[in-house]
């Protein structure tokens, strides 16, 4: 069986200008690939190919999603066969060049995927449905030609040539697409509001701020297929009647910014952006459609991803949320009607227009259509970027796509939705991934972060970690979020340090409830979610910390009891010498003993013992 993506690629060999003679070698140079040493691998490949003077085209692509296997190198031959090597290092390049490039013998033990045989990693793709990521890891993101070869800008042409703006909006409504930025608001409806808003001048914004820790969905799309996002924005602009737009990209994404700038320049040269878009290509109705697109680098705060704060930031003001209403659709950027969507939302649009709204609506559940991209991270065997049809269960994603938990440990929970989301316990692994079902667990779909936790995770600590993040990112405007989260964090911190008191859980609930219901913007309104979900599913862990001064996951250092296993202890005295409070006593070559009254749980003894004799419980 050829997974869909591979079949597409086979086609792209020719599209990308491959000739009948040479191989095409593609290095994955998304941020993940670069971080894993992709540039060094690329240099090594260039060197090896040039030294052998082989007729090989070396190309680059973005993230294909198998981040756990980076650096990835794809080799296509003129017959359309594809071989994907994982964990490539500069040292491995030499053998690849000799065996495969020169002699045509693929190095089978390094292959992670191949069109010629099924390999274990195929299951990573089997249940995926790639719409947003259809080009990621396949085309060279810096090549407009490669994008066009894969139907690029044809959806735009279709819209301009054959559809009225209202029909474009209707198509998006029919598809059932909902915003992928977190709240899941129906995209077509949002466009309709913006179209209906009074005003000559309208703006369009793409939200690429992506501030959740551990999230990289938008980055991968922006780096791997920038034209898709631009095309989606163009179609939206045509639909609502906007002539100017901003792509707001997180400042920490320099590669995405660079590729977007290049894509905008290329698209402008080719007549897809600017004045009279596709004017010469469209004969039927000479295009009156114009669109200027600017890239704006983010201000570096999580709250700047909130739409009103984002607009304040574009206007050059402090990124602080504003009151809604008025909503952006009636009064947004500089007081003009504005439509704002997430990167992934826009990236779906060209596909929907080309394949028809029904094809999209066929996927998913009753109220959640299409597919969703997730960044799978944490204690998962195969972490990376995945795109799954809505309605798949959490368990399927974790076990079948992600290959289960790392190191054979037990699955405990999955944190969905980043700091605004919550922890879904293993017992709810059958939960379907759709907006309503996820929300029902207390977590949120969010933008697509999925952090998998195993049995070693302390749930109080997890809640503390996420709250620490939101507390620091609070803009400070409203009382509950600014001070309430700080007080909650103090309570969580003292619980993890063994200072928890009776009544803390109730106080947490009280604060969480008020921060949630009375904060001004989404940041505050969702900040308590990690606390509330862990309290809901793992209350006994809180109680163990507070009442028994015990951390069931053996994570909270202050709550550990350190003991020396007399069977393993050789009496080397290393621990006793390391202990800052001289809590360890014993005679040389005799088992040592820890005085619990003196022990301050610093962990020095564990670090020093070469015989693994110091145990914690």
């Amino acid at each position: 069986m050829l997974p869909g993506a591979i079949m597409h690629v086979a086609g792209s060999y020719h599209a990308a200008g491959g000739n009948r003679e040479g191989l095409i070698v593609v290095v994955g140079l998304g941020s993940c690939g670069i971080a894993a040493g992709g540039q060094k691998v690329r240099s090594a490949l260039i060197e090896a190919i040039e030294r052998r003077a082989l007729p090989i085209q070396l190309r680059e692509t973005g993230c294909v999603g198998m981040c756990y296997r980076e650096v990835l190198v794809d080799v296509f031959d003129p017959q359309g066969k594809r071989f994907t090597y994982g964990n490539v290092t500069p040292e491995r390049v030499e053998r690849l060049a000799t065996d495969h490039f020169e002699s045509g013998r693929p190095v089978r033990e390094w292959l992670v995927r191949s069109s010629e045989e099924s390999l274990a990693d195929d299951s990573f793709f089997a249940k995926q449905k790639r719409i947003v990521l259809r080009n990621c890891g396949i085309i060279d993101p810096e090549s407009l030609a490669e994008y066009r070869a894969r139907d690029g800008y044809q959806a735009l042409e279709k819209a301009l040539r054959r559809m009225q703006p209202e029909e474009v909006i209707q198509a998006v409504r029919d598809s059932g697409l909902r915003g992928r930025g977190g709240a899941g608001f129906p995209t077509g409806l949002k466009w309709q509001f913006a179209r209906g808003a009074k005003g000559e001048k309208k703006y369009l914004i793409c939200n690429g701020d992506e501030g959740d820790p551990g999230a990289f969905m938008d980055r991968s799309v922006l780096e791997g297929d920038p034209h898709t996002v631009i095309e989606g924005m163009l179609i939206a602009a045509y639909g609502i009647g906007a002539d100017e737009g901003y792509l707001y990209v997180r400042a920490e994404y320099p590669l995405a910014v660079r590729r977007l700038r290049k894509a905008i320049a290329d698209a402008t040269m080719a007549g897809f952006l600017g004045e009279h878009i596709m004017g010469s290509m469209l004969t039927a109705r000479g295009s009156e459609f114009s669109f200027q697109l600017h890239v704006k680098e983010g201000a570096g705060a999580f709250v700047c991803g909130e739409e009103t704060a984002l607009m304040a930031s574009i206007e050059g003001q402090r990124g602080m949320p504003r009151l809604r209403p008025p909503f952006p659709a009636t009064s947004g950027l500089w007081g003009k009607p504005t439509n704002i969507n997430n990167v992934e939302t826009y990236a779906n649009i060209p596909w929907i227009l080309l394949h028809g709204p029904q094809a999209f609506a066929d996927l998913g559940t009753e109220k959640s259509k299409g597919s969703k991209v997730f960044a799978l991270a944490g204690k998962i065997a195969r972490g990376g970027l995945v795109e799954v049809p809505m309605g798949i269960t959490i368990g399927e994603v974790i076990y079948e796509i992600g290959g289960g938990i790392k190191d054979g440990r037990a699955f405990k929970a999955v944190q969905m939705g980043g700091p605004s989301g919550g922890c879904i316990p293993a017992s709810l692994a059958d939960t379907m991934i759709d907006y309503e079902s996820v929300t029902q667990t207390g977590a949120i779909m969010g933008s697509g972060g999925m952090v998998v936790l195993d049995e070693t995770a302390c749930m109080v600590e997890i809640a503390r970690f996420f709250l620490d993040f939101t507390q620091k990112e609070s803009c400070g405007k409203c009382t509950f979020c600014r001070i309430g989260t700080k007080r909650m964090l103090e309570i969580l911190t003292r619980i993890t340090q063994g200072q928890g008191q009776e009544g803390d859980i109730e106080l947490l609930y009280d604060l969480a409830d008020k921060v949630k219901t009375s904060s001004l913007c989404g940041l505050g309104q969702t900040a308590p979610n990690p606390v509330l979900t862990t309290l809901r599913y793992f209350r006994e862990e809180y109680e163990a910390h507070i009442r028994e001064k015990r951390c069931p996951a053996h994570y909270c250092r202050k709550l550990l009891v350190y003991r020396i296993d007399s069977d393993l202890c050789t009496g080397c005295t290393a621990c006793a010498r390391a202990c800052p409070t001289q809590a360890i006593s014993g005679v040389v070559k005799q088992p040592h003993l820890i005085d619990q009254a003196r022990c301050i749980q610093c962990g020095s003894c564990v670090a020093k013992c070469r015989f693994d004799a110091v145990k914690t419980q």
């Binding site: 402090r318 620091k472 609070s474 405007k477 509950f480 007080r487 009375s518 904060s519 001004l520």
Partner: protein
């Protein structure tokens, strides 16, 4: 706007769509506690104290939520009360709110709310961290330890005052009020308009001069007008026995809507010039105190051929008194006539799109005019074009700065405007000539002194300096260079202050300082405004009119005496 029906606490009401819940409730006598909200400022929705139940879902801030048709609002329930109490708990515990050692105690909105909502203990351990203070400003003390981050000061400084000095730095719990991106207050672009202090609900911004002298509610409130310049801003003056506690702008005054400037609020209270408390006569080169009677007699003896030169700050009543004594020989120290006749009023500033300001630093004089302009030009709603030679602090707020030489370019820029107002005071003849040609521009003339228009109306023209043997009387509070004006004459100065400058005179006579006299004057808009007397002057001090009456009496007496003498001969 359309009227819609809503229900608040079960009461059916009709109100304009788009008004906030708070405004509608207030208009109908329903009380909702607020903290960050302020009637003179735009809604902010930060403190969340005003939360109400409006429709299903989360509680909403009444101050920032517009009403909608058929909305049902509940302003009081146990959930709402709990949420409000939590706001207070969080705010009280955020920083130092030990009220007994706070200057604002008894006049603090946070403290008031604590009492009103029944806060009886601190839920969270209060005040674990010290925040900074800034004491560098001559008039204002900033104590971040008492700040609740309501941003009223920030909003007032920017949106009302047009100064944009204050901001907020850092995020979340670390947020702090920021002055000009981290400048010491005294080195900042602050114009000392005092608006921030006026709106601060807590003890975070304190009027230094008023501190520890008493609370607002222990003082008498007197509504008056500022006579420091011809704008004539409305003031709220708080007096406690015979001293002024503080001066606020009057939010309800149509002239200034609450805005004032340093000249009304602080400058007079910090005037350190020595007061003249009794008349003094120079006798054989020695200053000798003189009785009121002797002084009046002395002055009465010098009236023949005498003339009086007045400052333009004198009230109409004082001017009338002087005219009764001196007839046509009353003159003005300064010019009176505008270089170009005015065609605009202050209210024309509200919807102009271009301001052409020529040769006046509106951050230092006519401050309220500066606010009315800057609050529209800095956010980009209108354009400020400045023409001046030399330093003008307005130059920092606009990209369009030209020298007098380059007036033509400034005019070319101004012609792009739809409604252009020229703002000017003194003008060089060549400049006036060039502006005269631009008849499509409105002209807002800033009279030179607070009652310049009153002088003009009374037919008082500028004094021409000359050598003469006459006696010249000078009346005013900023008398300077007396000798150079009239050499060889006998000089009398009626003035509140005993400065070295006035000692050039032969007789100095005490009159009231700014807050010690009442009277009327004509503002730049041509309105007859009244300034109230706030303080009682010292014993030896008499108003100009009172001195005139004494002199008049002495003169009559001497005429009678002379008549008697003549008769017996």
């Amino acid at each position: 706007m359309a009227l819609v029906k809503i229900k608040i606490d079960g009461k059916e009401l009709e109100a304009e769509e788009g008004k906030t819940i708070l405004k509608v409730a207030q208009a109908n006598g329903i009380e909702i506690p607020t903290l960050c909200d302020h009637a003179a400022l735009l809604p902010f929705g930060g403190c969340r104290l005003c939360v109400v139940q409006a429709g299903p879902g989360a509680l909403k801030p009444a101050c920032a939520t517009p009403i909608a048709s058929n909305m049902e609002v509940v302003t009081d329930s146990s959930e709402i009360r709990e949420a409000r109490m939590m706001v207070l708990q969080l705010l009280f515990g955020e920083r130092n709110h030990y009220c007994m050692v706070c200057e604002s105690t008894g006049q603090c909105e946070l403290q008031d709310l604590g009492y009103k909502l029944g806060l009886d203990h601190f839920e969270f351990f209060p005040y674990e961290k010290r925040f900074s203070e800034d004491v560098t400003h001559p008039y204002i003390l900033v104590d971040q330890n008492r700040c609740i981050l309501c941003r009223r000061c920030v909003r007032a400084c920017a949106d009302v005052g047009g100064h944009w000095v204050l901001g907020v730095k850092n995020r979340g719990y670390e947020s702090l009020i920021d002055i000009d991106m981290d400048a010491p207050f005294n080195d900042s672009s602050c114009t000392s308009c005092g608006l921030c202090v006026q709106v601060c609900p807590t003890g975070a911004l304190v009027d230094k001069r008023a501190s520890y002298l008493g609370r607002k509610d222990q003082a008498d409130l007197i509504l008056s007008r500022c006579d420091r310049c011809p704008v004539g801003c409305g003031l709220e003056v708080y007096r406690r026995s015979n001293y002024i506690l503080k001066i606020y702008g009057d939010w309800n005054c149509p002239t200034n809507g609450g805005v004032t400037c340093r000249l009304s609020r602080y400058a007079p209270l910090y005037d350190e010039r020595p007061r003249l408390s009794t008349p003094k006569l120079k006798e054989a080169g020695v200053w000798t105190p003189a009785s009121a009677e002797k002084t009046a007699r002395w002055m009465a003896g010098k009236l023949i051929n005498a003339e009086v030169v007045v400052e333009g700050s004198l009230s109409n009543e004082d001017l009338a008194a002087l005219k009764s004594l001196f007839g046509e020989r009353v003159f003005s120290l300064q010019d009176v006539a505008p270089p170009l006749p005015a065609t605009a009023k202050l209210q024309d500033l509200a919807d102009a799109d271009t301001y052409l300001v020529i040769g006046v630093d509106l951050n230092r004089e006519y401050g309220t005019v500066g606010s009315l302009i800057k609050r529209r030009t800095i956010p980009g709603t209108a354009k400020l074009i400045l023409v001046d030679d030399g330093f003008n602090s307005l130059a920092a707020s606009t990209d369009f700065v030209f020298s007098m030489e380059d007036l033509d370019s400034a005019l070319a820029e101004a012609r792009k405007g739809r409604k252009v107002v020229i703002v000017y005071s003194h003008l060089r003849e060549t400049v006036a000539e060039a502006l005269r040609a631009e008849s499509q521009f409105l002209r807002l003339f800033l009279p030179y002194e607070s009652n310049t228009l009153g002088l003009a109306q009374a037919g008082i023209g500028p004094h021409i300096a000359a050598d003469s043997e006459r006696t010249v009387f000078f009346v005013g509070e900023n008398l300077r260079d007396l000798k150079s004006r009239v050499r060889g004459a006998t000089l009398v100065a009626l003035t509140p202050f005993e400065t070295d400058e006035v000692k050039a005179a032969d007789l100095i006579v005490p009159i009231p300082a700014v807050f010690e006299s009442e009277g009327s004057f004509i503002s730049m808009d041509g309105e007859l405004l009244r300034k109230e007397r706030i303080l009682e002057p010292g014993e030896g001090v008499r108003s100009v009119s009172a001195w005139v009456a004494l002199v008049e009496a002495q003169r009559l007496q001497s005429v009678v005496a002379k008549g008697k003498q003549g008769g017996s001969q």
